[in-house]
Every structure is written in structure tokens, then in C-alpha cells.
């Protein structure tokens, strides 16, 4: 720990020295820096473009709304542009470093040009980033959503290279990577299980979310710990000028968000809650005699955030998320079994922004994440409990350094203390406790140091090069079982507190470059390699809350992901359209799966990794993307061709097999249309190659029962999936007319209270998409009544919904 801290401190002191030397050699230049904020709410604007009008050189604001640009001395015009806001222009005469905070004025709330996705002009072709998409959460509400629940993760699934886990599921898979390979950050705190209701809804309440960024390739060095993608979600700060609220009432849940100043202009808060009421709604329809009468299910989310501007240079934020799913099952009779399955996430992040000077911006974040799952069952005198979970305590320091016009540096360090509960079982029968050892919690230290430079080599060539040094150490206290050939414990080896058990370190190179081809086009290429020290092992074929997070160990080696990508990016019609073509090739090493026939009840009295098998995989593909950014009609069209395979010596007899999320063809279409101030419309369409599933090929009888024989893992394809969703939103009138009592003159003023109705239809042409296929054998072979049939089950038919939303 001490060596790590000194390394971090050393890094901070050394780098500024090197870069200030570089700076001294350059010509005399000054910097302009500051924050860009929404003039009406004080909310920091992320990704707003700030530039010098004469040279068109500039930058985009970071996630705190901060920007720095380096300029020549003299008179010039500072400009800011951001979709949805009035352009900002300010003549300045630069003779020294300047600090300019910009209050961006929103365009009229209604009737503005609606964008589904907002990014600044030219970023598509200007930036070195590839495979990156930003979404504005506040703009998703006009798109159709399942049962009216606006869902960030499901919107992401419409992007090329991102696959969903099936009907209605919020789980997502990026470029052939597994569900555990996505780094999901909520205000810098890791979210381990991002879904509710067995995957049907994501945990992110769009009302509390400001900005979403998905990185699926060319991952910059400031992110690490996951090898496939980063989903970086920032919560809103809350309005620091006046008190506001918004909310909605939907078919299955209701939401309420309140925000306002704590100290006007300096401090604000936001609190947002959501609860489902499926349990309340369905109760009257369940027969009290039925087997389900004692069952109930609900989930809730609570987001809260507060921030305080201590000075021009310092700002602190505290944010938290708490969400729980609770499922109860009990039969109607005394002797029936009862189950209770609670699970959920909690995250807390405390952040401190500090501006050291115009060229050095620091963010320090302390985070806490907790994911826990429990399964409790009892019947008669028997009790059974299973828990698993993960707890993280993290500290992270990130510095952004803008030494001169050509270099944008980032460096920093991160430390996470993990505590894993891999899977604990407790069983008792009356007074007899079965002798299941309580597996010790696993303790691990994860560290990372990184440095990266976004560097303009020439006007055409920009390189983003970085490196990340990551380490992981599993330490005691821990008890390792010595196992016999049947996997049964014959003895144990004990490790004392802090004693190292296994450790890993890796240097992760990241490089991406952009070469400009004319004013509207560029080619980009990237290479990155990452290492991941946590693994998700799933007993089922679909992600479930029962899935267990497992740390790397002497047996489970870290997952390694390597990705090569290249693409061509072009803006058309003055940036109204953004287009891109990207190709990628990705390899995965040290993937894990449970062995065939492994089961949770065999996880006791043995090493937590005893039932695992190991393998590798690869994925390659091409992604085509066209987006119309502005206008009354906007949206995007994405198409992906890809192939994703896995190979495990102990699965499928060692033969290569398609991954569960192998989608050869995937087409998605998102459209928003706002013809006038009252109505807006949204439509989405998706087409995907059928999911690869394993089906039995042969059957035989044993003791008179039908046994299935499987040959090829994922050897069968279900029919393709396609679906069209539609939505229409009716806004109430935003203006009301008042007449002056003296003159009788009529004027229109904006109402404080706005409300809207969203009518949506899920699966508009009622396609029976396959959710799963099963084979059913019934009847008696002895009397010629035996029958075998294949059945396809579809989940959602055409499903209308209505949601009422309001804000004030």
C-alpha cells in the first residue's frame, strides 16, 4: 500500500515537471479555462464544444463541465456550441491566462430541435475515440419503452456492436464480450448487477441520469478492470437556482424526482425514487387458493446526489444509489415451501474537483459498491440459505493536464479493496446444523496507475497513447482446501490476515489514432489490451442474480482481452449526418464457465473455483452506423455483422462453439420525429439473427424416463428476432395567456407545470419472437400414446402502455 501511494505521488510530481519543460520550449501562449453550465439550472454541461471562432480550434468540456484551451495572444472570439443551447460568442483580448465560465442558455423548452443523441459538431471525425457513443438520458423519454419504463441499457442495445440477451432483457454484450466484461460506472462507483426483475429492467432511473457514455473499443487508459466496454453514467447534479420536480406514473411503476438549491448558485441536491407495484396490481387477480397466492415481487431504486461549490477552484459531490429486488414465494398451505430472494446494489461516491491552475484539473473520488444476493428457503423443519456478494472500497485520483495546445494529458491512480462472498450455503434440519464450513470471505487489493496523452502530431494526425499498470493480489485470511480427485476436501491450508495467496500484474497498452482526410472525414485505428481480475460464473444460460462474482486466484487466471479496430468516419451535409464504418478483431483469454453438471449446492466445503472450467474466445465484426443528428426527424441506423466463438477443452468435447451472444446479423433503427410543439413520435426497429441454443439431438429411456443426449453446444439457431416499437407523446400546452387587468392586453407566459402523456406500443406487428424452445415428451410408450413435440415460447405479444409524466 505504501509503495503504491508513493508511486502515485511520484507520478504526480514527475509528470508536471516534464510537461512544463515542453511548455517552456513552445511559443508564448495563454490558456482560457472555466466551466460551462446550463444558465437555468446550473447543471454542468458535458461535451459542450468550446473553441476560438477564428481558428476553429477548441475542445469539449469534461464530465464536470470543465474546459481548457490554449490560444495565441491577441484579440479573438471565444465560442461555445452545444445542441439544445443558444450559441455563445464572446470577444476577448488575450494578454494573460483567462478564466471564463460560460452560462449556456437553453433554447425554448418546447419546439426545440429534438436530438436523440447529442454530441458536438465534428466530434465524430475530430476525436481519436472510436466505438464511443454518448446518450443524453433526458432525451430518451420520447422513444418507445417496454411497459413505458424508459431504460438506458435497452437503448444502448440499439447501437451497433451491442447485443441484448433476449426478449425484454436489459443485459448487454459488447463485441462478443460477456456480461461481466462491461465496466458499469455510476458516478465512478462500480455497479455489479445492473438489472431488476431477472433482467427485464435496468437499475438506472433515467430521471436521475444526465449523461451516458458507452466505449466499446479503443478504451482509454483511464478506464480499466474490464475488457470489453465501459458504460460511464453520470447522475444529474440538481438545479442550483430553483426548486423543481419531475415524475411519472406508469403501468408498473411510479417515479418522483426532486431537485433544488441548498445554497443558491453554490450548492444543490437531487433525490430520485422509483418503485414498482406489480405486486400490488396483480394481487387482486390471484386466486387466494392458488399456489402463487403468497407470492409477491417488487423492486425500488433510490438515487441521491448533492454538490457544493466551495470556491472557484473546489467543488465536492456526494452521490449514492440504493436498489433492491425482493421476491417472495409461499404456497397457500402450511406445509408448502417458502422462498425469499432479496438482492440489490448500493453505491456511494464522494468526489472532489480541484483546479490547481488553468492547466491542471484534478478529481479525487472515494467509492463504495455493494452487491448482495440471498436465497432463503424453508419447509417444515428444514432451512436453507445461500448468499453471495461483493463489496468494494475504492479511491481514485485522476488528473487532466493541458500543458499546451498539442497535448492533453491524463494520469492518475486507483486502489480498490474487494471483499467477495463467493457463495455461502447454510442448511439445517430442526436442531441439526449440517456441517458446511462457512467459506471465508475473500479479500483482494486491486491497484492501477495510468498515464495517457492525447497528442496532435500534425493537424491531420492525432494520437492517444496510454498505458495502464494494474495489479491484483488475493490475500488472507483465507482457507484453501486440499482436494482429492473427486473434488472433496481432504485437508486445509490456512493463510493469515494479509498473507499473499496469489498476485498478478500487467502492463496494459492502449493506443488509438485519428488521421484526418479533408474537413469532414477521418480514419481511425486502435489497439488495446486489458486485464480483468473478476469473473462472473453463471449456472444458467441467462444472467441471473444467482450468478456469482469470482476473483482471480491461483486457479482462475485473469481474463485478458485484446482488441484491434479500424474505421472510417465521415460527416455529411454540414454535420447533419454522421457516418462510420468500423471493423474489429478481439480475442479473449482465460474465460470461465461452470463445468457441465456443476450446481450451487456443491459449492460448499470446497474451493470456490473447484467447479470451474477454463477456455478462450474470439470475436470479429464490422459495424455500419448512420446518424442524423439534427432536424425535426432524427435518429440512427446501425448494422453489425459479427462472429463470436468460444473454445473450452472441457465443454463440447473441446470443439469450438458459438457464444450465446453470437449474432451474425444485427440491424437496428431508431427514429424520433417532432412535427410540432404538442406531439413527438418515436419508433425503433430491431432485427437480429436467432440466438444460438443447445438442443438435445437424441433421446433414450432409462428406468422408464426420457433422457436427453446433447451433442453440439449452441448448435441450433432459433428463428430471427425482429420487432417494431412505436411511441407518441402528447405535451400539454406550455404557454398560457394572461390579460392585463388594466390595458386588457393579452400576453403569453410559460407555465411552470408541464405534463405529457406517452402512448407506446411494444412489438407493434405482434411478432412471436422466440424466447426459448423446449422439447416435451409425454404419454406412455406402452400404449402408443407417447409423443414428442418441440415448442417455442414467446414472451411479449403486442403490448400497449401509457405513461403520464410531469415536471415543474
Amino acid at each position: 500500500m505504501r509503495t503504491l501511494l508513493s508511486a502515485i505521488v511520484g507520478l504526480f510530481f514527475v509528470l508536471p515537471c516534464i510537461t512544463s519543460e515542453l511548455h517552456a520550449q513552445g511559443s508564448q501562449r495563454y490558456s482560457i479555462s472555466g466551466y460551462v453550465k446550463d444558465a437555468s439550472s446550473g447543471e454542468a454541461l458535458i461535451g459542450a464544444s468550446v473553441f476560438i471562432k477564428e481558428t476553429m480550434r477548441g475542445t469539449a468540456t469534461n464530465v464536470y463541465g470543465y474546459y481548457v484551451i490554449n490560444v495565441e495572444p491577441g484579440a479573438q472570439t471565444l465560442a461555445m456550441s452545444f445542441i439544445g443551447y443558444e450559441d455563445f460568442l464572446m470577444p476577448i483580448d488575450v494578454t494573460k491566462d483567462l478564466k471564463v465560465n460560460i452560462n449556456a442558455v437553453p433554447k425554448a423548452i418546447q419546439g426545440k430541435v429534438v436530438e436523440v443523441v447529442g454530441t458536438r459538431t465534428g466530434e465524430n471525425t475530430e476525436d481519436t475515440r472510436m466505438g464511443t457513443t454518448e446518450l443524453d438520458a433526458q432525451k430518451l423519454s420520447t422513444l418507445p419503452a417496454l411497459l413505458g419504463e424508459v431504460d438506458i441499457l435497452k437503448t444502448i442495445q440499439f447501437l451497433p456492436g451491442v447485443a441484448s440477451n433476449g426478449e425484454g432483457n436489459s443485459g448487454f454484450y459488447v463485441r462478443g464480450g460477456g456480461p461481466d466484461q462491461n465496466l458499469i460506472l455510476l458516478d465512478d462507483a462500480t455497479v455489479y448487477n445492473a438489472s431488476h426483475l431477472f433482467g427485464f429492467f435496468s437499475v438506472f432511473n433515467a430521471d436521475a441520469v444526465k449523461n451516458i457514455e458507452l466505449i466499446k473499443g479503443g478504451m482509454p487508459a483511464n478506464y480499466g478492470g474490464r475488457i470489453s466496454s465501459v458504460l460511464d453514467i453520470n447522475m444529474r447534479d440538481g438545479n442550483n437556482k430553483s426548486f423543481h420536480g419531475q415524475g411519472g406514473i406508469g403501468l408498473i411503476s411510479s417515479r418522483l424526482t426532486l431537485e433544488g438549491p441548498i445554497v443558491k448558485d453554490r450548492s444543490s441536491f437531487i433525490v430520485s425514487g422509483r418503485r414498482t407495484y406489480i405486486d400490488v396490481v396483480t394481487k387482486p387477480f390471484i386466486n387466494p387458493e392458488s399456489a402463487f397466492s403468497g407470492s409477491g415481487y417488487y423492486f425500488y431504486d433510490l438515487n441521491a446526489k448533492a454538490n457544493y461549490q466551495l470556491s472557484d477552484k473546489d467543488r465536492v459531490f456526494v452521490s449514492g444509489y440504493f436498489g433492491r429486488d425482493v421476491f417472495d414465494f409461499s404456497g397457500s398451505n402450511e406445509g408448502d415451501p417458502r422462498f425469499r430472494i432479496p438482492w440489490g446494489n448500493a453505491t456511494v461516491a464522494a468526489r472532489w474537483n480541484h483546479v490547481f491552475g488553468p492547466k491542471l484539473f484534478m478529481n479525487t473520488t472515494a467509492t463504495f459498491s455493494d452487491y448482495s444476493f440471498a436465497f432463503q428457503a424453508d419447509q417444515d423443519q428444514f432451512e436453507f440459505e445461500l448468499f453471495s456478494g461483493i463489496k468494494d472500497y475504492g479511491l481514485k485520483v485522476d488528473l487532466s493536464h493541458y500543458p499546451n495546445a498539442r497535448h492533453r494529458l491524463k494520469y492518475g491512480g486507483q486502489y480498490i479493496y474487494h471483499i467477495y462472498t463467493t457463495s455461502t450455503v447454510r442448511v439445517s434440519s430442526g436442531d441439526t446444523d449440517f456441517n458446511i464450513d462457512t467459506p471465508p470471505k475473500l479479500h483482494a487489493h486491486e491497484t492501477a496507475l495510468y498515464v495517457m496523452d492525447d497528442f496532435d502530431v500534425t493537424d491531420e494526425l492525432r494520437i492517444n497513447a496510454g498505458v495502464r499498470l494494474s495489479t491484483f493480489a488475493h490475500v488472507g485470511p483465507f482457507t484453501l482446501y486440499d482436494l482429492d480427485e473427486n473434488g472433496r476436501a481432504t485437508g486445509t491450508t490456512d493463510f493469515t490476515s494479509g498473507e499473499p495467496i496469489s498476485s498478478y500484474a500487467a502492463l496494459e497498452p492502449r493506443i488509438s489514432l485519428r488521421y484526418r482526410l479533408g474537413p469532414n472525414g477521418s480514419v481511425k485505428a486502435s489497439y488495446n489490451r486489458g486485464q480483468q481480475y473478476v469473473h462472473l460464473a453463471s449456472f444458467g444460460s441467462t444472467p441471473l442474480p444467482t450468478d456469482v462474482w469470482i476473483p482471480s486466484s491461483s486457479n482462475v487466471r485473469p481474463q485478458i482481452g485484446t482488441q484491434y479496430a479500424a474505421g472510417y468516419f465521415r460527416d455529411l451535409f454540414d454535420g447533419v449526418f454522421e457516418t462510420s464504418v468500423e471493423g474489429y478483431y478481439k480475442t479473449f483469454d482465460n474465460l470461465i464457465e461452470y463445468a457441465e453438471g456443476a450446481s450451487p449446492q456443491n459449492n460448499g466445503n470446497t474451493n470456490y473455483d473447484a467447479q470451474l472450467v477454463f477456455g478462450e474466445g474470439y470475436s470479429y465484426g464490422a459495424e455500419f452506423f448512420v446518424k442524423k443528428r439534427t432536424g425535426k426527424v432524427n435518429g440512427w441506423l446501425g448494422y453489425t455483422w459479427s462472429k463470436t466463438m468460444r473454445q473450452f477443452p472441457d465443454i463440447n468435447e473441446g470443439r469450438e462453439f458459438p457464444s450465446r451472444w453470437d449474432r451474425r446479423n444485427d440491424l437496428s433503427f431508431v427514429l424520433a420525429y417532432e412535427p410540432n410543439k404538442r406531439w413527438s413520435y418515436g419508433a425503433t426497429f430491431i432485427y437480429a439473427t436467432g440466438q444460438a441454443v443447445t438442443l438435445p439431438v437424441n433421446r433414450y429411456f432409462f428406468e422408464g424416463r426420457v433422457v436427453s443426449e446433447y451433442t453440439e453446444r449452441n448448435g441450433y439457431r432459433m428463428v430471427p428476432y425482429h420487432r417494431l416499437d412505436l411511441a407518441a407523446t402528447l405535451h400539454n400546452r406550455t404557454l398560457r395567456t394572461v390579460s392585463d387587468p388594466i390595458t386588457g392586453e393579452e400576453t403569453e407566459i410559460t407555465k411552470r407545470w408541464h405534463s405529457s402523456w406517452t402512448f407506446a406500443v411494444y412489438n407493434a406487428y405482434n411478432r412471436a419472437n422466440p424466447y426459448f424452445i423446449y422439447f416435451d415428451a409425454s404419454g406412455n410408450p406402452g400404449n402408443n400414446s407417447f409423443q414428442v413435440v418441440a415448442k417455442q415460447v414467446s414472451l411479449f405479444s403486442i403490448l400497449p402502455s401509457v405513461t403520464w409524466n410531469f415536471n415543474f
Binding site: 426483475l197 431477472f198 396483480t282 421476491f327 398451505n333 402450511e334 415451501p337 422462498f339 428457503a377 417444515d380 428444514f382 436453507f384 434440519s429 441439526t432 449440517f434 456441517n435 473427486n486 449456472f539 444460460s541 441467462t542 441471473l544 457441465e596 453438471g597 450446481s599 449446492q601 466445503n605 438442443l695 438435445p696 439431438v697 437424441n698 433421446r699 433414450y700 428406468e703 422408464g704 426420457v706 433422457v707 436427453s708 443426449e709 451433442t711 448448435g715 441450433y716 412471436a768 424466447y771 424452445i773 423446449y774 422439447f775 416435451d776 404419454g779 406412455n780 410408450p781 406402452g782 400404449n783 407417447f786 413435440v789 418441440a790 415448442k791 415460447v793 414467446s794 414472451l795 411479449f796
Partner: protein
């Protein structure tokens, strides 16, 4: 039942999801599925139990959507094979007994003894292999090697009969799962597991009292659907557990279709057979249960049955059996 609770937990958990999904579900339809054709494999269903001659039934796998007529099912039974058992000193060639040679009045008894449907026995020539002269009887602690030549394939398997572990006691307790009922219940048992780890058990039960038709309610031992357990968590412990009543596959007996299904009834006389198995046999029965239970369960990873037969499928299992009787009075 706690043992069932353990082993069926995954399925319960997942079936909760399935139930939940099905509350939203729109439709289910029959489809046709094109499956690749593979060569049939030979399946062994072989047991050698303490004090009894071995019994071996041989079948072959069929394509999942092969015809399901009686004739087609009958054709999956193998009638031409050479079957031998080596007991460590002698190689015994087993005798073939076919249903065509069984007098009609004994078919019911043969069906009960083999678990093969009586109609199948009557309508097709179905064979088993055993030792008619009783010159080979299972002994605890002994290993037996089975060799089979059938369908131009050679199959081999070895099993050991473990020492039987007797139950300490048996009793009957009402289940009280049906409103107003005071006659249905489960059989409870107390077992003292030996001190060494590695005991594996299978539970079977037979009701010997007469049903309404005047014959014994069960013609033979019946295993409940989840019938095996091990001492992974109970090594050396004395503990109580229970089992529900199993039904024969495809049973259309009245008490397997009415409220008595799954329960023993006040007044039943029940013989419980607790079988000790070696680990390979246990893994087979455990994965067999799981394979059958997960058919149609999309949320579980499909897994083949873990066979101890080289060159084929199925099991060759040595059973160390102990019996105990209980009369169902709460």
C-alpha cells in the same frame, strides 16, 4: 425433503423465473426443428445388488423426433448382445431372458421386476441379461467388471458394491399440505452417516399393503424423482430427513393421479430400501435426475448424464442395500 430441497433448488429458483415470465407470456406454439442425425449409441441399465444376480437391460439412443409408436420404442431395445461380468476371479456369461419366452401370466411380474411397461413386454421381444442359476450374486466390498458386445460396439464398466448403511429409524408424519386432510404424509428417517466421507445413497420405497383392487399397492420398489444424496454436508452426522412417494414413469395408477399422488397414506405398510452407491454410480443418478428435470428448462445449462460406461451410455451400478419397514401411523 431437505435433500430434495437442496438438489432441486436450482430448478426451483429457475422455475420461479419461468413462472414469473409466464405470467407475462403471450404464446407457445409447436414448431419443427431440424436436428442433425447421429449414430445411435448403446445404453446400459445394469445393477448388481447384494444377494441378487446382476440384471442388465440394453437399449440404443433414438433421434429425438424419431417415431414414437410402440413398435419404434420397442425397436430401441437391444436383443442381440454378449454380456459378461468378471467378479475378480471368474468371468460369468450372463443369460438372456426375452419377453417372448415369458408366459403371459408372468408378464405383469416381469414388468414389475424390470420396470419395463407390460405392453412393451407383451408386444415386442424385449430382453434382459441375468444369471439364472444364481451362480453370481452381489457381495458387498466386491468389484464387478461388465463387458458388453452389441451393435458392433464394445462397452466396459466397473462398479463396486459398498457396504450397506442401515437407517436408525423410520416414521410417518402428516404433510398437512391439503386443506382438511389428516391421512397423507411423508416417510421420515434418521440416519447415522459413517465417519468417513464418501457415502452415497439412493432411496426407494415399496407399499406392500393391498390397494382397493386387492393387490399390493406397489409391485416393486419405486424411487422418487430425486432419489440420491451424499454426505458432502452430513459426514458423520446423525440427522433426520424425509422423502415423498415416487411414482413409476407413465404410471396411470389411480393413486398416482388423485390427491394421494406423491404421498404415503395412513395405514400403508412401507418397506424402505436405502442403497449405498459408489461415487461413479452416484454421479450417474444425480446427473440423470438433473437431465430429466431440466428438460424444457431453458435457464439451466444443458448437461449430459455422466456415465460410467466406456464406449456407451448409462450405468453399471453396484447396490449395497438395507431394508427397513414402517407402518404409516402418525
Amino acid at each position: 425433503m431437505e435433500l430434495q430441497l437442496l438438489s432441486s433448488m436450482r430448478h426451483l429458483n429457475l422455475s420461479i423465473l419461468a413462472a414469473l415470465a409466464l405470467t407475462l407470456v403471450a404464446c407457445e406454439k409447436e414448431i419443427t426443428v431440424d436436428l442433425p442425425e447421429t449414430e445411435p449409441r448403446v445404453v446400459v441399465e445394469g445393477v448388481i445388488e447384494t444377494g441378487a444376480p446382476p440384471v442388465v437391460i440394453l437399449t440404443r439412443t433414438q433421434a429425438y423426433f424419431a417415431p414414437t409408436s410402440l413398435a419404434s420404442i420397442a425397436a430401441s431395445f437391444i436383443s442381440e448382445a454378449t454380456v459378461t461380468v468378471f467378479d475378480g476371479s471368474t468371468t460369468h456369461v450372463l443369460d438372456r431372458v426375452c419377453s417372448s419366452a415369458i408366459p403371459e401370466e408372468l408378464l405383469e411380474e416381469a414388468a414389475a421386476a424390470t420396470g419395463i411397461d407390460v405392453n412393451l413386454l407383451a408386444n415386442a421381444n424385449i430382453c434382459i441379461w441375468t444369471k439364472l442359476d444364481m451362480s453370481l450374486l452381489g457381495e458387498a466390498g466386491r468389484s464387478y467388471r461388465l463387458e458388453v458386445q452389441a451393435d458392433n460396439k464394445n462397452l466396459r464398466a466397473t462398479t463396486t458394491i459398498p457396504n450397506a448403511v442401515p437407517l436408525d429409524s423410520l416414521w410417518f408424519r402428516l404433510a398437512q399440505q391439503q386443506p382438511g386432510d389428516d391421512s397423507l404424509g411423508f416417510i421420515w428417517a434418521r440416519l447415522s452417516d459413517p465417519d468417513t466421507i464418501g457415502n452415497h445413497y439412493r432411496w426407494l420405497a415399496q407399499r406392500t399393503n393391498a390397494g382397493p383392487d386387492g393387490v399390493a399397492k406397489d409391485a416393486n420398489f419405486v424411487a422418487p424423482f430425486f432419489s440420491v444424496f451424499e454426505d458432502r454436508y452430513t459426514n458423520g452426522l446423525t440427522f433426520d430427513f424425509n422423502f415423498n412417494r415416487g411414482a413409476r414413469p407413465f404410471s396411470n395408477a389411480e393413486d398416482d393421479e388423485n390427491e394421494e399422488r406423491g404421498y404415503f397414506k395412513r395405514g400403508d405398510t412401507v418397506i424402505v430400501k436405502l442403497v449405498s452407491l459408489d461415487r461413479a454410480s452416484f454421479k450417474f443418478y444425480e446427473s440423470f435426475q438433473s437431465n430429466v428435470a431440466s428438460a424444457g428448462d431453458v435457464f439451466s445449462n444443458p448437461a449430459n448424464v455422466i456415465s460410467n460406461v466406456e464406449g456407451g451410455l448409462g450405468v453399471w451400478s453396484g447396490w449395497g442395500s438395507s431394508l427397513r419397514t414402517v407402518i404409516c401411523q402418525p
